[in-house]
């Protein structure tokens, strides 16, 4: 038996699963301290199903806390940044293309120093300890303890990053350090952006993980706890203390995976309608379709693998104006329960329209009786058009596809959608994210330097895939469910021709 919890910005959802069977599900408000919401959800859940905590084998948590922190520019700590690449990139400092408000919030202490490598293994410039020490002195003077390090070509040779890290650790044993080589692939600016975002979240990550574990312990759950990451696989909660950035897209990933689990539909469009936006994603063979392009998070370019999500400004709290011809993107958001007309407020929202149409019974329907039939019908048509248009954009060319509606705002869809071959509103759709977290998978990764002239590519790839698969099985994956999700090859041209670093990631379902 396992518990899946989704800690979102407004709601904390939780489910107990026994195999594929949902024994209990609940939805609570996320509390300011996070802990209260989780405790509250766990109490309802365990009580509901009358299950003793010791029968729970695993807890899986999905959270958008870190993404929200970046998007809302809160809980971001002052960060030190060292880029090791001078004399290249002069006048192009780290964070140059970040949104101004984010740069101001993080107030980074940026140091560009000489060093790094060239593509052919020659040093770009010699590292200079005086420059490193000057950066350290500055961090100390400003009491900065979270530090991001990035050097040119570190995926091929991370010695400069390691050297700077060692020197930092000697001088500042308490410092929390993230190195860009830990974030994989080539692309210095994107990799650097990822480590800066990770470093700035480290203190918050401690707070959140401690809150999670504290809440579980408090309710007698002593089983292993995992947190879901971007690609839908799990990581240990301790790992998240060091790599909170790896959770950035776990929200949409869990929502899509949950929708798949609820309907069994492997290929479908998933529309997750919340208070402010409708997040539209695509299930392909049961997995989120990935975005092909460089993804930005809170306006910052990154190289994470992310699900391809189209966010449409239409939710249960979206404002309706112009006699129903205009809907959103402005929204009262979670203040719907005070500001919406049916709740006694003075803002006309999409929810008010549906209540006025007699298709939902929420709040006081007398407060919307003055709305004319024309306004109601026009607003409904506007919403349908918005959804149809966006779904068409996400649909793989010309194919008929079913649409799965999840999320609290799905009541906005009262009739069918022209873009959907069939419409599904699964039971428990409100807790799709928690279910997605509970069915999260286990990954295995393997990396090896090979020489294609000695071992041909196909053979090398097969061999490394096998190592990755073994690791996934060791971590609890069901062997027959394992599939390759990423093959990354980095040619190392200055070594023997044919030398390549190959990194392969596989994932599989959690066994049992």
């Amino acid at each position: 038996m396992r518990i899946g919890i989704d800690v979102g910005g407004t709601h904390t959802d939780a489910v107990i699963l026994d195999g594929d069977k949902i024994l209990s599900a609940t939805k609570a408000l996320t509390s300011a301290d996070v802990v209260g919401g989780i405790k509250h959800a766990l109490d309802t859940l365990l009580l509901d199903a009358s299950i003793k905590p010791e029968r729970i084998q695993t807890v899986m948590i999905g959270t958008t806390q870190f993404t929200n922190a970046i998007v809302q520019r809160r809980e971001l700590s002052r960060t030190g940044v060292i880029r090791i690449a001078l004399p290249s990139g002069k006048g192009m400092p780290p964070m140059i293309d970040w949104p101004d408000d984010m740069r101001e919030t993080i107030d980074a202490d940026i140091h560009m120093i000489r060093g790094g490598y060239l593509y052919d293994g020659h040093p770009l410039a010699e590292l200079c300890d005086d420059e490193i020490d000057a950066a350290i002195a500055s961090f100390k003077a400003k009491k900065i303890a979270n530090i991001a390090i990035a050097s040119a070509f570190s995926p091929m040779n991370d010695a400069p990053e390691r050297h700077v890290e060692d020197r930092l650790r000697q001088a500042m044993p308490e410092a929390r350090i993230t190195r860009s080589a830990q974030f994989g692939r080539l692309g210095l600016m994107e990799r650097e952006n990822a480590v800066i975002m990770n470093a700035t979240l480290l203190p918050f990550a401690d707070k959140v993980v401690s809150a999670f574990l504290g809440a579980l312990k408090n309710r007698g759950l002593t089983c292993p706890a995992y947190i879901s990451q971007n690609d839908g696989t799990l990581m240990s909660s301790d790992f998240v203390r060091h790599f909170p950035a790896l959770t950035f897209s776990s929200g949409p990933t869990n929502s899509l995976r949950g929708a798949y689990k609820l309907t069994g539909l492997e290929n479908a469009i998933v529309v997750d309608i919340g208070g402010t936006t409708s997040d539209i994603g695509v299930l392909q063979d049961g997995f989120p379709r990935e975005s092909n392009v460089v993804v930005d998070i809170g306006g910052v370019r990154t190289n994470f693998r992310m699900p391809d999500i189209l966010a449409l400004g239409l939710g249960g709290g979206s404002l309706v104006s112009d006699s129903g011809k205009s809907v959103g993107p402005q929204s009262v958001g979670h203040k719907l329960v005070t500001d919406g007309l049916v709740f006694g407020g003075d803002q006309l929202t999409t929810t008010d329209i549906i209540v006025a149409a007699g298709q939902a019974d929420i709040g006081d329907k007398n407060r919307v009786s003055h709305l004319s039939e024309v306004v109601i019908q026009t607003a409904k048509q506007t919403m349908r058009d918005m959804l149809d248009r966006s779904i068409e954009m996400m649909k793989p060319g010309g194919k008929d596809m079913p649409v799965i509606l999840v999320g609290g705002g799905s009541l906005l869809v009262t009739e069918g959608l022209a873009a959907a071959s069939k419409l599904y509103r699964p039971e428990n759709a409100g807790v799709a994210n928690a279910i997605g977290a509970a069915v999260a998978q286990v990954g295995g990764e393997a990396e090896k330097m090979v020489n294609y002239r000695i071992t041909p590519r196909e053979e090398s790839v097969a061999e490394i895939t096998q190592i990755a698969a073994k690791r996934a099985v060791a971590a609890g994956a069901e062997p027959t469910s394992i599939r390759t999700v990423d093959i990354e090859e980095t040619a190392i041209p200055y070594m023997d021709e044919g030398a390549t670093r190959v990194r392969i990631k596989v994932i599989g379902e959690l066994a049992g």
Binding site: I96, Y119, R289, V485
Partner: protein, 368 residues
Amino acid sequence: MSESLSHIDAQHLDDLALGSVFLATGGGGDPYVPKLITAEALKTFGPVKLLNPVDVADDAFIVPVGSVGAPTVSLELLPSVEDAARTLDAFEKYIGRPIDAVASFEIGGGNSVIPICAAAAKGLPVIDGDGMGRALPEAQMMSYPIGGVKPTPALAYDYAGNQATFETDNTETYERHIRAFSMAAGGMITAAEHAMTGRQLKDTVIPGTVSFSVALGRLLREKRGQADTLLKPLQELFKTSIYGECRLLYSGKVTDKTTRIIGGYDIGEATIEGFNGCNDPLMINIKNEYLLARQADKVRASVPDLITIVDYETGTPINAERLRFGQRVAVFATGCPEFYRSERALKVVAPRCFGFDIDYIPLEELLS
């Protein structure tokens, strides 16, 4: 015809860069970072005047400037804001005369904006046109040398400010020399070369490509969406341009992709398999650029015509160094400017010049 611009300022840069990636046919390097340094330069020095080649005086002194190297390198070895202007300073000092206007090697990729960055800092105008109408991997493939412009005197400037000068009459030789210098200097350098008179420029330039790239970028931004829906607007834009034909060759998923840096180039191939799995896969050969598209050994498009791979869902063009296993893509092909279909041009840009044992057949004559 798309409208000719009179100036380039910061607000044009995003569209120019986006259009340039489409025209880069996978090569040319990601213009994102060059665009950032150019934005910095335009912020400091103000807009740059764009000169229609027909308005250039016959005796004006025009110098093309740009980066030379392997695109993968530019992901890690970042340019400095001052590199391009310092290159022109050093070039002027080397030959002892001032430059009247700056031109582009190639409109495809980062070299679409580098001349603008240099021109802004130097207070010079930039030519509305380039030496390829796309991106191609070698210097002798530019329209300037094909039309008889000498490659040197030339000057190369590396990330550390080291310089090298070149003197040779032959662009193939120059290409080998500057490539060797680029490789020895970290894989990416800035060069000023193929200096010419206004008369020579008029005879050899591929005209109007800076304005066209801005128009193409604007179209891709405004019509952002699935590749199938982009086809018609693209065809309308290309039809009245120097490129002509535009086709959607294939849609599918990248099932294999390998490239390695060999001899200063990214060399390799990609396999794309149809979404429905029943078509033969499309094979793409890469040498910095997407050069050849074949399906079941039938040529679907080849250099010097343009082959462009875009993200299937958004129509955003994808550079070869960012093309990855699992991506869902569409492959477009467009005709090349007439200049490149002349006998003298095909001598250096036909498929055989890249080691493919096939004759060049214009896109319009291939079965679609």
